[in-house]
Amino acid sequence: MKSYILPLFIHSVPAGFPSPADDYLDRSLDLNDYLIRHPAASYLARARGDSMEGCGIFDGDLLIVDRSLEAQHGQIIIAALDGQLTCKILDKKKRCLLSANKNYAPIPIDEFSELITEGVVVHSIRHHVLPG
């Protein structure tokens, strides 16, 4: 004879209205949801170098970059400088790119060329214990 395993319900079967608590069931927290507003336009990258330490971005940090945002004055952005993806602070008023380290000079933005940004750095993540 075939035997069946039946699930055991530890809760009593509610007759009447469902528990109002059901509406407040929390789903587990998802860092993607929290940190990445535009997934199709965002990418992860690795910081290399010490020129942005004043902003708290250190060598090896993880950067979350959103390409869909319009870069605002004072924001940390990614720009293509001499063909290399580079992280700097955008100074729209003085039309230059700033480092957050006094050992690095500001880089003027060419007056005639429109600055093409490769995204805005929306978060940087420090690893205090190496992941993986």
Partner: protein
């Protein structure tokens, strides 16, 4: 109105996304095993490098000319393609994935009465958004039928004045373009049919459009007759109806109801995989990589639109291997509690047996296995699906790809993320 969005030199453009130093430079991408050139940037084309040219003929010359050479990197291409598709989803709820780099949109709100200028503006908006959000250059063609949208896209890419967007919204405009399009460049016209059309003294798209549809039906078939209707602005093909031999095969559908139940989604993906494999075998191709896509229902949880690209152990046309791989991918992508609305399978990196045989070091799926599969297909078609199985998959030789020039998997491997100079 229909809209065709087509990425420019897609694989080559993917290689330029995280390498600004290579933009506006000659870039080529090689087929699996580094045998042929399968993609060329505009600058590489201008240097006279041919499509499907064998690599060993011109490798040292290319290196001399500082052409950037890449092995194909399907995880990267699949990721960027999925991004483009997702962004297009914000422009229209009806998107057909035609191939890894081409998507048809049905633009509900745009009709014949919409002004050309505002259609052009909408096309530019699509083009500019994708460029800004993904660094992927695309061409956009808008027209009242899919066949004319394909023609419009051709114009958008080949005529500099179009700046990547072309709207063919009236007969005067599409006649101009048809006059300049040879029949072998029309979507859905095979080389066999175009040779026969030439014999009938039909050389351009305009001449085909002016032919009597009944006459065309008698000499060819109903598909060619539909192309004639489409060329005259009468829409016959809806989204998901596909005529031609393809470089990738996609099968994706929305579910009838959203689903949070894994077995339902697994059933769906098996069906799509089987469909895609039938098409693959019908055009006598093999595939080397597989993309599996899974879309969540609500806009808020768009983070759960996920995809995975998997490389098969050897080029294969085996439904069971591909379906098994697709199911494993879904099990990886699925998250409990999320309602999913759409799933899809893409067979990428297609090759023919002829191309396989040119590589004597990696024979891949053997001719004997091909015969076995054909016999199995026949038995299974007579006695029902899966009447006959292969007991051991171990008969195949392990097939290792040669990928000497592969770029990092920038978007899918933690230790290969793009590095940013700080």
């Amino acid at each position: 109105m229909f809209c065709l969005v087509d990425c420019n030199s897609f694989y080559a453009s993917c290689e330029q996304v995280f390498r600004p130093d290579l933009r506006n430079k000659p870039v080529v991408v090689l087929s699996n095993n580094d045998c042929f050139i399968v993609a060329r940037s505009a600058q590489a084309k201008a240097m006279g490098i041919g499509d499907l040219q064998t690599v060993f003929e011109i490798k040292s010359w290319m290196q001399q000319q500082q052409v950037a050479i890449f092995s194909s990197n399907y995880p990267l291409y699949g990721d960027l393609s999925a991004r483009v598709m997702e962004i297009l989803g914000s422009f229209s709820s009806q998107v057909e994935i035609y191939s890894i780099d081409e998507m048809f949109l049905y633009l509900e709100d745009i009709s014949h009465s919409t002004s050309s200028d505002s259609m052009n503006h909408y096309g530019s908006q699509i083009k500019n958004t994708i460029l800004k959000h993904t660094a992927m250059p695309v061409g956009v063609g808008i027209a009242p039928t899919k066949t004319l949208a394909k023609l419009a896209n051709r114009a958008a890419k080949s005529i500099a004045k179009c700046h990547g967007v072309c709207v063919l919204d009236n007969a005067k405009k599409w006649d101009w373009m048809k006059k300049r399009t040879p029949v072998n460049k029309i979507w859905g016209i095979s080389s066999r049919f175009s040779a026969r059309l030439e014999e009938l003294n039909i050389h351009t798209a305009l001449e085909l459009a002016n032919a009597d549809p009944k006459y065309i039906r008698r000499y060819f078939n109903v598909c060619v007759e539909r192309i004639v209707e489409e060329l005259n602005g009468h829409a016959c093909l809806s989204l998901e109806e596909i005529p031609a031999v393809k470089k990738q095969i996609y099968c994706s559908r929305s579910f009838a109801n959203k689903s949070t139940y894994l077995p339902t989604i697994l059933n769906a993906i098996s069906l799509y995989a089987a469909r895609a494999c039938e098409k693959l075998r019908a055009q006598q191709s093999f595939c080397c990589s597989l993309q599996v896509l899974l879309y969540s229902a609500s806009y808020e949880s768009s983070c759960h639109n996920r995809h995975l690209v998997i490389q098969l152990p050897y080029p294969s046309g085996d439904t069971r291997l591909i379906s098994r791989t697709a199911r494993a991918a879904i099990q990886h992508l699925f998250k409990p509690g999320i309602a999913y609305i759409k799933a899809g399978v893409g067979l990428l990196d297609l090759s023919t047996r002829k191309q396989q045989q040119l590589d004597m070091f990696h024979p891949g799926q053997s001719a004997k296995t091909d015969q076995l599969m054909t016999v199995m297909d026949k038995i299974n078609s007579i006695h029902g699906k899966n009447s006959l199985y292969i007991a051991a998959e171990g008969v195949h030789k392990k097939w290792a790809m040669r990928q000497a020039y592969r770029s990092p998997s920038y978007t899918s491997q933690w230790n290969e993320l793009p590095e940013i100079l700080c």
